[in-house]
Amino acid sequence: MAEEVKTPAPPPPPEGEKKPTAEKPPAAASAEPAKPAAPAKPAGPVPVPWTSPLVEKYRSQYGSGLEAQTYLGQNYLTVDRALIPDILRLLRDEEQFDYCVDITAVHYPKREKQFDVVWILYSFPRNERVRVKTQIADGASIPSSVPIWPTANWLEREVYDMFGIMFDGHPDLKRILLPDSWKGHPLRKDYGILQQDKEWVQINLGIESGQ
């Protein structure tokens, strides 16, 4: 697959990239000197539906479990958790998204499905990036992408370490950045920034936590 990248022809320009000058930032309007009645802010950039052959194909296959949008020129798919390993595998095998750039998560504690797990994928032959998002509940687990992209190994370990999301089928799911016996998952919104695992610090470093 990588051999195709060596062709001398320049890669196709990124698809769907809109010129940023087309839309003016809405905040500029609010920087103007205060008027008696502040004008309504012009609508800022919003996610617009993303249409492409890829989307058409998957939408016909999976129907409602999949939503495709574009925001600021970046395409992303929001899929149901049930579709996850299949969609990712299809993206790699059929759509040539052979490089998994990143796997990360976002925590929305007020939502019912609290976590957003995000895969950022890139295709060398097509010079395109796509994001795949899914929403899972707290305590739920998600199938690991290690069989699809080996790079997911450490990336998923970090997501587990920081958020506590378990990945089924990961060969070695344990903490990576924090010590093994650390309690808590720091990037969750309910883990305060001034809080730390006092017990671990007491046992291992022998000091009282300064916080």
């Binding site: 609010s30 920087a31 925001y71 976002v106 069989p147 080996p150 720091p186």
Partner: protein, 394 residues
């Protein structure tokens, strides 16, 4: 290692057979069945920071490695959720502290994209010049330390001495040598100082023979060739599968550079080449980085001759409040693809800021690269991947 199928289980990438490892006391030596577990501890002259590598050896051959990282984890992503976008700008320098300017460029461009503003052309040129100088400085540091690990002591002093000239330019521009905080969201804060162009051009004439000096010491040296050729080979397919980017990927033969594939910050206006290697071994990575230094000089030369006039700061409000949304923006840092994934909830502080560190992902490939090598080569391979622990651990 690459066998046609893309299934990870065939690549031998499963981690060490943990039943044999007693990682609680890794210094214990198992003398039966010739297998030895050796710990290259967090404090080691050759691990470029606090990196712990546990090696499983058969005699002197490496059977597998396990990296234990996180000694430099400072919770940068958590901090980002509690700082405004402008306040967070200095933090990004501290991640890859050897090449701080690139970190700042990636972050500022990501936030600018999220805000849907663009930096003015003059700011873009200044950014390109400083980023390329920063790339040269980062590669010089890499060369010095890598050669030192392999045993050549002298290039270290030469590269550090020549790096001083770049750091002088940085200091004159923004006041700092290492953690520069050179750019702001929307452009650059500081106008170029009087004599900036002249000094940059002087640096170019000063530095051109220096690269030849480094090459004269190492490139055709028989001992260097024996220590680096066919050491730490990784194929292009493995690189792509493992997400390895930067000079490591290019040395394996994949001609991919974000400056050409998805140009940012005025790179599309310059004429430069992407060096690639053929074997994917340590020697090729060395050649690729040396050539990258030359290409960086080329870019700087083109840029410094035609910096456009104009403002250096775009139209950015005083309080940076991006609209609700997400963005992922990445640049070609000296070490690979450095990406920022920012989720904004409309407030002045990022809701989630994820840094995609190139060194973190590249370090994963260490396991593959050292299988079957001797212990003395592990040090060479760690050096050739060019990791900075500040970026690995954030």
């Amino acid at each position: 290692m690459s066998d046609g199928t893309n299934d990870a289980s065939n690549r031998g990438l499963s981690s060490l057979d943990r039943s044999n490892l007693d990682l609680e006391t890794p210094d214990k030596t198992y003398l039966d069945s010739n297998e030895l577990i050796i710990n290259m501890g967090p404090q080691h002259p050759a691990t470029h920071g606090v990196l712990r590598v546990i090696l499983k050896l058969d005699g002197e051959k490496v059977l597998g490695t396990e990296c234990v990282i996180g000694y430099l984890h400072r919770g940068v992503e958590k901090i980002a959720e509690n700082r405004t976008y402008t306040m967070f700008n200095p933090y990004v320098d501290r991640m890859d502290y050897c090449a701080a300017v690139s970190n700042g460029l990636g972050y500022c461009e990501a936030v600018e994209k999220l805000m849907n503003v663009e930096a003015p052309p003059r700011a873009k040129y200044i950014r390109v010049i400083l980023t390329e100088l920063n790339r040269i400085a980062s590669h010089q540091l890499w060369l010095g330390t890598h050669a030192l690990d392999i045993g050549a002591m002298t290039p270290l002093f030469y590269t550090f001495r020549d790096r001083e000239e770049i750091l002088k330019i940085f200091e004159k521009y923004c006041g700092a040598r290492l953690t520069t905080h050179a750019f702001r969201i929307g452009g650059c804060q500081y106008e170029t100082y009087a004599g900036f162009e002249k000094e940059v051009k002087n640096f170019l004439t000063f530095f051109a023979p220096k690269i030849d000096e480094y090459e004269a010491l190492l490139t055709t040296n028989r001992i260097w060739l024996e220590r680096t050729k066919n050491v730490g080979v990784i194929s292009a397919a493995d690189c792509v599968a493992l997400g390895v980017t930067g000079p490591v990927l290019r040395a394996s033969g994949v001609q991919w550079d974000l400056r050409k594939a998805q140009p940012y910050a005025a790179y599309s206006e310059f004429d430069f080449e992407i060096p690639i290697g053929t074997n994917g071994d340590t020697y090729d990575r060395y050649l690729v980085r040396m050539e990258e230094m030359r290409q960086s000089m080329r870019i700087i030369e083109q840029a410094v001759n035609r910096i456009p006039e104009g403002p250096i700061m775009g139209k950015v409000p005083k309080v940076i409040k991006p609209p609700v949304g997400e963005i992922y923006h990445s640049i070609e840092a000296p070490k690979g693809e450095l990406g920022y994934f920012i989720v904004s909830d409309g407030s002045t502080q990022p809701y989630r800021l994820r840094v995609r560190p190139p060194s973190f992902v590249n370090l994963q490939a260490l396991d593959i690269m050292v299988r079957g090598l001797l212990v003395a080569d592990v040090v060479a391979v760690i050096g050739t991947i060019d990791i900075v622990l500040g970026e690995v651990d954030r």
